[in-house]
Symmetry: C2
Subunit: 248 residues, 2 copies
DNA sequence: CGCAGCCTTGACCATTATCAACGCTGGTGG
DNA sequence: CCACCAGCGTTGATAATGGTCAAGGCTGCG
């Protein structure tokens, strides 16, 4: 059974109208005109690796010999400053690639969040197989382009949004792409710790915690447990996320 | 004469060793195995447009009908919040594409910084031509992947660096890619205003100004004019940029 | 020469970080 | 089975970085 996947350009556009027709209900899938046989050629040159929760997969500064594809579980990717400050640049799930950047060393570290399995490719072999399958190259281009747009949204969040706006945006992003429960009446599962949310949103864990209780007090969300919440007032939350509270 | 270009994955790796061999001294060029004839096919379907400094090229929220390539001059790309807060996500120069993201509406606005000329493609035609030229698709993939890595670096800057570290990083980034004067003994030209630097680094113009004078007072840089400076102590500046001042 | 648009500097303020204490929860071992 | 501990999360008090508001300076252009 084929494990390797290329996530489509995300099913997030649900909200924006243009749902990924090739994708159906699942959050990831083989998309963009690549058939299983073609992915099979790529999978054939992969090492299949398993990682325990918390285990390191790649380290910032190491020689960038490999390209990775997540096949199950979840992975956090981050950059560190020498004194330990951490910026998480992404939470990755099945179908996501990382390590594509054409640099001699990894600019990031990656660790398993939950137990995870990955395909690992030697860069040169990966390059030549991908190069051989234009449809795959096209799908990757679309995917990476989409990630670039997401990264630019995150730049807006980190550069210009308040703590409350950041958390509101974050909650909605999770809700929109939660692969397991597609917003069953506003239910959102936070697979990550407060520290991870903080390092993703550029805040501290204390501020994250305070904002959650503030949103709760305002009746905008309800905290069901530390890792589960329900969105009670989606419009208010969306208003915060889009910065429509400070309007001029 | 061919105007359209695909920037290589940047000549920045100068510092990191692996210079772009296909590129030579110029900061951008036709790279990655695409020849002029192939680019010519793309250029053939382009509208050539000129924009005056300050003029808008695309607006956040408009239908995303076009893809753009900068052929001369410079362009700023940014996202706005409804109250006017602005995050500049990139300064673009000849050879840079934008509007590639497969979304129904532009998630960004773009304006000419200096007078600029661009190639503009209808998205569908663009797609089909690119799709027809695997070497071009491959070059774009590499380029976009590189930009994604740069965007993630910017996320680290915006999420975790102090004002001083941000400006130090910014100065070095400009110095490394300045297309005109490749660091003639530390000389750096800032083509942008303080407001643009602020909106790129997630600060205010006042803070940007204060940090510049602080770096000047510390003897790390010298301000030759508002738009020109010289790096006096490159190691100190690099140390700040990498966060090596707060080390534990 | 004068004005407009940037830039700089200063005084004050607010948001968020830091430091600290405490509570909850789940797992382990007595 | 219960008690304890470790790790995570919450809350409070205080501090600091950077933002806001305001005034004034410089520069280039008409």
């Amino acid at each position: 059974m084929l494990e390797l996947r290329v996530r489509s350009t995300d099913c997030r556009p649900r909200a924006a109208g243009a749902a990924c027709s090739a994708c159906g209900a699942r959050a990831f899938s083989v998309c963009g005109g690549i058939d299983g046989a073609q992915l099979g050629r790529l999978e054939a040159i992969a090492d299949k690796l398993g990682f325990k929760a918390g285990q390191g997969i790649a380290r910032q500064g190491d020689r960038a010999d490999h390209v990775f594809n997540v096949t199950s579980g979840s992975v956090r990717v981050f950059r560190l400053l020498p004194d330990g400050r951490r910026q998480i640049t992404g939470f990755l799930f099945a179908g996501d690639f990382f390590g594509l950047a054409p640099h001699p060393e990894y600019a990031f570290s990656a660790e398993a969040m939950e137990d995870a399995t990955l395909c690992r490719f030697r860069r040169a072999e990966y390059q030549s197989v991908v190069h051989d399958i234009p449809a795959l190259e096209a799908a990757l281009l679309e995917r990476v382009t989409h990630e670039l747009a997401a990264a630019e949204n995150q730049m807006l969040l980190l550069g210009r949004k308040t703590a409350q706006e950041r958390i509101a945006t974050f909650i909605l992003a999770i809700a929109d792409r939660d692969p397991l429960r597609p917003d069953v009446n506003g239910h959102v599962r936070l697979a990550m710790t407060r520290a991870e949310i903080a390092d993703y949103t550029g805040l501290t864990i204390e501020t994250v915690s305070r904002v959650f209780t503030r949103l709760k007090t305002a009746g905008i969300i309800r905290l069901l447990s530390v890792h589960d919440l329900r969105i009670e007032l989606p419009e208010r939350l969306r208003g915060l996320a889009e910065g429509r509270s400070r309007e001029p």
